[in-house]
């Protein structure tokens, strides 16, 4: 098992955002976590990154308990993160954003190779390498957020709603990228999405979250017929 989340309970003050959540993901898999707005999807990824402290439960990465470790240790373990709403560094250039993504890498050669790999995946980013991130279009910004998460050559990439706020054509591009990361680069991906239909097309397995609880865990092809999943289809 690459990543295992065991009985995780997370609060914001008195609000319980996650209630005894357990999920796991093996190397090479793409696992989707779907659920409507406020279900706790972002909180799950933030807990895995160490950005919120869970009240209860454990997070195991390659067998090691990382629950209490600070976020930068996660980066050192090569957990890549694409936050909700992209959260680029607006006043850094495209290339500087990528270099921050590679902050834990010490070897200049390796950083250069990663930069090449990301530019190969997103040639548009190379064209705009010395532009400030804040000048990018929504689609380009999402490419950069994904590219930044890929800079560490992640053992697992956590993606939080990469399709949020994008035009339908761009959403398709983003999901094409995710497919090619899966098929060609063999990247393990934990994908959080409100766009259940699209998420189920690329995922192997899926967890459905509802008010902080896992209410369904199934293979992606089975989940498509589940009534609760279909409700989410209609909702968003």
């Amino acid at each position: 098992m690459l990543l295992r989340v065991e009985n995780l309970t997370t609060y914001y003050g008195k609000i319980m955002a996650l209630d005894n959540v357990s999920i796991d993901i093996s190397e090479g898999e793409v696992v989707a976590v779907i659920g409507r707005n406020g279900a706790g999807k972002t909180t799950l990824l933030r807990s895995i990154m160490g950005l919120v402290k869970p009240a209860k439960g454990r997070i195991l990465f390659r067998g090691e308990d990382i629950t209490g470790k600070p976020p930068w240790i996660r980066a050192k373990l090569r957990i890549g993160y694409v936050p909700e709403g992209r959260r680029l560094f607006p006043y850094l250039t495209v290339e500087e954003n990528l270099l921050v993504g590679a902050y834990t890498l010490k070897d200049k050669e390796e950083i250069y190779r990663r930069l090449e790999a990301v530019y190969r995946l997103f040639p548009r980013l190379e064209e705009r390498r010395s532009q400030l991130a804040r000048t990018l279009s929504g689609g380009e910004a999402q490419m950069l957020a994904i590219g930044r998460g890929l800079m560490v050559n992640p053992r697992i990439l956590l993606m939080d709603e990469p399709s949020m706020g994008l035009a339908p054509k761009i959403v398709d591009e983003v999901f094409d990228t995710i497919s090619s990361l899966k098929e060609e680069e063999k990247v393990t991906i934990l994908l959080v999405e409100q766009n259940a239909r699209k998420a189920l097309e690329v995922a192997d397995r899926v967890y459905l979250l509802d008010t902080g609880r896992v209410v369904l865990h199934a293979r992606a092809d089975e989940a498509r017929n589940d009534l609760r999943v279909r409700k989410i289809y209609l909702g968003g």
């Binding site: 976020p71 980066a75 936050p83 902050y103």
Partner: protein, 292 residues
Amino acid sequence: MEITAAFLAQELITGLTLGAVYIAIALGLTIVYGILEILHIAHAGVYVVGAYVGLVSYVATHSVLLAFLAAAAGSALVGVVIERLFYLPMLDKPRHIPLMISIALFILIEEMVANTAGHYPKAFQTSLPSSVYSCCGVLISFQQILLMALVYALSLAIWLIFEKTRLGLASKALIQDLEVAEAMGIETNKIVDLNFILGSALAGIAGMLVGIYYGKISPHMGDVVAYESLVVIVLGGFGSIVGAVVGGLILGVAEAFLAAFFSNILPRDAFAFIVMIVLLIFRPQGLFGRAE
């Protein structure tokens, strides 16, 4: 009064020297302001500490270089202790709380210095040459040259650190999005420490430089400095290195000329605020700040 080229050049030198003093203090302040966005009024206290550590070390060692190093180290220590004990734990509190703490610390530091070293000014005489050079009717002293050379070299070094190193990249990332910076592997506490160490060391060097330049130091030497360094970084744009340098220069030169032409009309120390207020009306983000 006859206005000659030599007279103007002389006032320019006075202005550039004064500007160097402002830059020395504001450079450190803009670094520590930039990193946590806390108005670090106690920075002027750190500057006073640097001046006294510098004097004590100079008396003990008779080495200007060692005294500078001690001033930098002593101030860096005080700065980073303030950051760890009082600022980091207050980051999620409303902004006026760390500001109040900072003002209290400034007063506390000044009183502690006064209680241990005495309320009255102390002479800061060194073995540095006191020679004055003259060229085409313009005078410049060795101490002015030393002050300017040191401050402008330090400014360049600091600029290079923030533009060309990993520390610089990490600092900028942290300022723009602390949480994501952490998730990307930046040990943010360490980076904040390093910024406070660097900024406070600069304050220490500034304190000692000003002490040498004016030949004396006092526990209250930070009072006007506390306001004026604030003006310089508001003028330049909060958190901007280039802004602190340009802001310091403008203020220094403008003050020198104003004093030369209208010394009896305008109070010198208040002038800084008039410049700042006028500028802020037209450009709220300062000269080199970004409009958010």
